[in-house]
Symmetry: C2
Subunit: 447 residues, 2 copies
Amino acid sequence: MSELEQPAVFDARLSAADLRDAWRLLDIAERAEGFRLLDPTAGEEFFSELSTSDQLTLFSALSPAEQRFWMRALAPDDCADLLQEAPQEKRAELLALLDETARREVRTLLAYAEDDAGGLMSTRYARVRPDMSVDEAILYLRKQATARLETIYYGYVLDQEQRLLGVVSLRQLFQAKGHALVRDVMHTDLVQVPEEMDQEAVGRMFAQHDLVALPVTDATGRMKGIVTVDDIVDVVQEEATEDIQKIGGSEALDAPYLEVSPLQMVKKRAGWLAILFLGEMFTAPVVQSFEHEMKRASVLTFLMPLIISGGGNAGSQASTLVIRAMALGEARLADWARVLRRELLAGSLLGLILGLFGMLRIIAMESIFPTEEVGKHAVLLGAVIGASVVGVVLWGTITGAMLPMILRRFGYDPASASAPLVATLVDITGLFIYFSLATTLLAGTLL
Amino acid sequence: MSELEQPAVFDARLSAADLRDAWRLLDIAERAEGFRLLDPTAGEEFFSELSTSDQLTLFSALSPAEQRFWMRALAPDDCADLLQEAPQEKRAELLALLDETARREVRTLLAYAEDDAGGLMSTRYARVRPDMSVDEAILYLRKQATARLETIYYGYVLDQEQRLLGVVSLRQLFQAKGHALVRDVMHTDLVQVPEEMDQEAVGRMFAQHDLVALPVTDATGRMKGIVTVDDIVDVVQEEATEDIQKIGGSEALDAPYLEVSPLQMVKKRAGWLAILFLGEMFTAPVVQSFEHEMKRASVLTFLMPLIISGGGNAGSQASTLVIRAMALGEARLADWARVLRRELLAGSLLGLILGLFGMLRIIAMESIFPTEEVGKHAVLLGAVIGASVVGVVLWGTITGAMLPMILRRFGYDPASASAPLVATLVDITGLFIYFSLATTLLAGTLL
């Protein structure tokens, strides 16, 4: 029979893909209806590919018998994720749908923080004994093919106390002589993930080592589970999303943009905006304290937004670069002096470039459209503006680069040094730098 | 022999880990020296885990014979990455180190854009025939264990014309009856990656489907290679890094932060800063055009940074959220009207919240520290400031949310709608909104 003559498979296949495409447009009842139309295999795959929040919404539209069926179809780690996402009062009810063994496994996983390696791992890995022969190990893994293991391509070699001795891949076993012992074939140069390691750090380990699965162990070397790379893609994606949203000056949305309710959306965004707005109120008294100077040389007022935005932009840039370097482990807290040196240099050069533009702008405008106010002081004013820009940009760069490190030092998330926060901080101090320089250098001429 | 009595293995293991830890602190010659001390297996693993730029630096310190050895040890896709990173004049020299077959493979891969699925794939996958029995297929994959294939855990089922018919995992084969045919066991509901697909989209496919490897096919369905999930972790990481750096208002660094030379660093950052600075110069004439009003009511000047930063912050926030939603495929260009509606609502609410703060600030300050200028018009001024904040925040939010979509519409990267760019755009227009509202509403009272 050719591939084209399989109407049943073809239909089911089509509707799974169709359902996936239409998903976002369907309401909850329609989703449940479409889901029921899938054949069991397609349904299982479809369900496991849904996001946890989608799974939960779908659940609410299913009958108790269906809920029970799908809870039992989920791997323990996915089950734990679902429960973590569920409202507190719903958890016990969902846990009760599982059989005794699964419930115990899920409870163990729930004890870990969601963002820990432990919260990410699967407990369904294949164990082999060090004194098995290669042939025995292959046969054993082969028998596990039907078991609900995360992978049968890696056998973890444990001693009596569940301590991890080594790992052997099916591929290594295939290459070895059949009568050799697993202990002589296994890989002992192990990359291990401590159970309490943050998932962002786990992501970095995978990015560095190009591995498919990593064993999770506790402080005494006991094997607790495995983390597989397919889960890590989601983690890396999510962690970057959180950082990006924080860098933009909002809280992490924790859900797809279009699925966050409008009220929730405002809640996630209003907090930081309000704090920044209150902080920015300090600019008013600063500007006011230079009222006298601005009245005498109103050109200082016109240039105010230009000067302070230069500092804000340089600061946003620096903080974003340092936040990302820290998230990738490229720059650690201990590197602060190196970062500071680099940013001092970069900030000075960037300041000089922008300062030159600023100076030329003043001189050029004044020669094309001469004003009574500036008049013959154009070059002096240009120099003052240039110097202010250098100062503000350098200051913005240093503030932006150091703030994420200071936050990390005190246990906060470096990504909270958002572009808007840095811009706000630099606005206040930048106004000081600008007006102080201007008042000092222009005294006796323009002022 | 117990695990503790293997001094040779233990030593080599120690030095590989040591070298990894010390890597960043060593100069090029020291790196090469340390690298030579690794035993061959550890060396191969160590080398393959290095970043492409690190591999290239290390290469420059190795002898021609060593270069030849390590070039031949690399998989074709890693070879192609290395060549892509190498300076133009060095490429032919490096290509010449390969044997004829590998050179042909690498040349094929080099023909793809670096960011395409084709540039990411490996051509070393296992092919099985549809009319093989399950036992034959297992035996065949087992024999491939020593071959330099990317994975032996998946067999790709091709017809005579190299068209992809299906895929069968070793696990599926293990579960099937030995005499069954591959064509009856294989998975035909295939998720395929078109060879020209952008790697960011490939990353999304992996995040959605939780698969270990995906086949890459051309427009006629011919199999070209496979992309494996371990490479995707790097891709997802890199794409997020690029977006974050762009959102911060610089070009993508394309290298670890601490390894970018200071000059290169300034080059990547000065471009956007200069453009933004030049753009921000348009604020000066806008402010100047309201000189008269500011002279009459200097409180308008004091509040200028507060008002425009509110719009800039709201805009940075909106653009960042929309950029990320687009990168994740959560919001597509076709969703623009939905996004606009959501942001109109969010922007109005956020504007009202901040506007209320602004209004209260004016009224409170004026009752605690009454001024001659504002005097009995405090409530009116408060209302005007409140209204300005609503207008500026709403406008900033809409600009920030729509700019990434407009950029995508015209073929640019949405991430170029950086926080500083949006803040700059909103500064200019925000000043207009603020002063226009103030002049209209305060005419006859404060003005």
